[in-house]
Amino acid sequence: MTPAVRTALFGGASIWLLGLIAALAVIVPAMNLLMPPDSAFHLSAFAVTLIGKYLCYALLALSVDLIWGYCGILSLCHGAFFGLGGYAMGMYLMREIGDRGVYGNPDLPDFMVFLNWKELPWYWYGFDNFGFAMLMAVVAPGLLALVFGALAFRSRVTGVYFSIITQALTFALMLAFFRNDMGFGGNNGMTDFKDILGFSVQSDGTRCAIFVITAIMLAAGFLVCRAVVHSKLGKILISIRDAESRTRFVGYRVEHYKLFVWVLSACIAGVAGALYVPQVGIINPSEFEPANSIEAVIAVAVGGRGTLVGGIIGGVLVNAVKTFFTGTLPDFWLFALGAMFILVTLFLPKGVIGLFKKTGGIGVKLPGLGKLASGAAKEAKP
């Protein structure tokens, strides 16, 4: 099969995916807004936000697939980038409450009044502006990824060692955000949001609008990732994944490439987090729990690593299963998650998408999923 044919196949999957997202963006709001509440075709506001939430997780899983599937970097801290994006949105929504809080303070969010704070900390400045807050939802995770990645990649920390320090990073952030004096609401986080850009976050119209925006951002994120992996840079990422040291000897500064895609991926995760918060109505430090990041990684493994489309499918699938388990058998959810990972590793090494594509896309002949952090370990010693 020629590369042209393979690209076309891959393109086909992309068209299907984009079509599906577009259909969701039209049908879901229509079923909520246009159908009368007693109709069988009516979709409740709860269902709209639930599907919207899945799309956010899909965007997060997409960002994990970009770095893990294509560059072999196994991140266990994408939940943290997601959380930072969420906090940026949360801070805007808190400021938007204004004097309608319990304490009626026009400048300070309730939790600050409760802590007897007299004025807004400097890092809250600007968050009353929606544009600035959205910029921060991308810049904050991006900046953290830049600093962290620059240090780690320069020191050539790879494989499981890298994964472990990313997990430490998200754990450290969780502990930090739990503290009240950090100024982010401590363990309660931020909630009781009133409106966004003047529209009530509770109204069906706003929920549907946020849903449509989430769908658009997911499609945009997918197209950006797809453009990156299909560029010459995408080929270099795969080269780094498969033979890092060889790529250096061909003359590529591996650390620069890793840093680029790492930061891009963190920014996408931040966008997902920012879209997530107005839909669930709360952001708290539990978003930084290491389990959340691991969930995103498993979502990618379930969907099909190194395919992008697979990341999105996995993100939706795993979280749909999660909804089911946390609703009916909450104690078993983590077992189910673990079982999914093991089953996929054993029986579907190319993930769900591998069922549809015999020889698919760029992700062919991946090192087994069992080898979580590919690259470093298996590389030939010259």
Partner: protein, 255 residues
């Protein structure tokens, strides 16, 4: 990466190693090794296992930093101060002992990745294949005789074809020096002869250093030979000259 004047001897050599010592936990992999390669030369390096051949390549390509000694390229670059990517971009290409091509890329993409071009992240992100590059890729496929296989994944190539693809990737980098580690290991006689032809062809325009165990192949190349032993040079000269050396027979050929 600007060529800064460095201390040391003025030399016409393209590659100049002087007193290079590398030790791993007290074991001296290289022991005051000195080696001078002139521009346009082809040199064969032989020696028993553990003589330091691969470590020498590691030092030249920036993978290993020597504890002592000088490594100069073209009389103006101190290679002990640069990393792998910088050295590769200066024009020193390396072929590994075990063929390492990018198995998930097609043959053509392997060569495309190796083509000499601006390698900063954003120029690579927006890179477009130019007609000149397409022409160069055709040439490289012709030289390595991999034209019919251009669209298949490198993983599917035979062992010998992978070796040639790797040599093709080296050429794509347009290096001044090629370091070639055991190019004919595991090749058939016909492939070995073909590889000797390829290396002689390459040597018309570039400096080549070949590390090899296969004496027939070294004889085929018909070039100056350096014998390494325990991290330093034991003998140097034509193959007949070094083969007659008693110490060489004792440590290497006699075995």
């Amino acid at each position: 990466m600007s060529p800064e004047p460095i201390g040391g001897v003025e030399t016409s050599a393209i590659l100049y190693l002087d007193g290079v010592t590398v030790s791993f936990d007290g074991f001296k992999a290289l022991n005051a090794l000195s080696l001078v390669i002139e521009p346009g030369e082809m040199r064969a390096i032989i020696g028993p296992n553990g003589a330091g051949k691969t470590t020498m390549m590691d030092v030249i390509t920036g993978k290993t930093r020597p504890q002592h000694g000088q490594v100069q390229f073209a009389g103006k670059h101190d290679l002990t101060q640069l990393d792998e990517a910088m050295i590769a971009n200066l024009g020193i290409g390396r072929k590994f002992q075990k063929p390492t091509v990018f198995e998930n890329h097609t043959v053509e993409d392997n060569l495309y990745i190796a083509l000499k071009e601006d390698r900063t992240v954003f120029s690579v992100l927006f890179a477009k294949r130019s007609p000149a590059q397409a022409k160069r890729l055709d040439e490289l496929l012709e030289i390595t005789r991999l034209g019919p296989h251009r669209d298949i994944l490198a993983a599917k190539l035979s062992h010998g074809q992978k070796q040639w693809l790797e040599i093709g990737m080296l050429l794509a980098q347009d290096p001044q020096i090629l370091l070639v580690d055991e190019p004919v290991a595991g090749m058939t006689d016909a492939e070995t002869a073909e590889t000797a032809r390829l290396l002689r062809e390459i040597n018309k325009t570039r400096t080549v250093i070949v590390v090899e165990h296969d004496m027939t192949f070294v004889r085929d190349l018909g070039v100056k030979v350096t014998v390494l032993h325990e991290g330093s040079v034991l003998a140097e000269g034509s193959l007949d000259h070094v083969s007659a050396d008693n110490r060489v027979i004792e440590v290497y050929l006699g075995r």
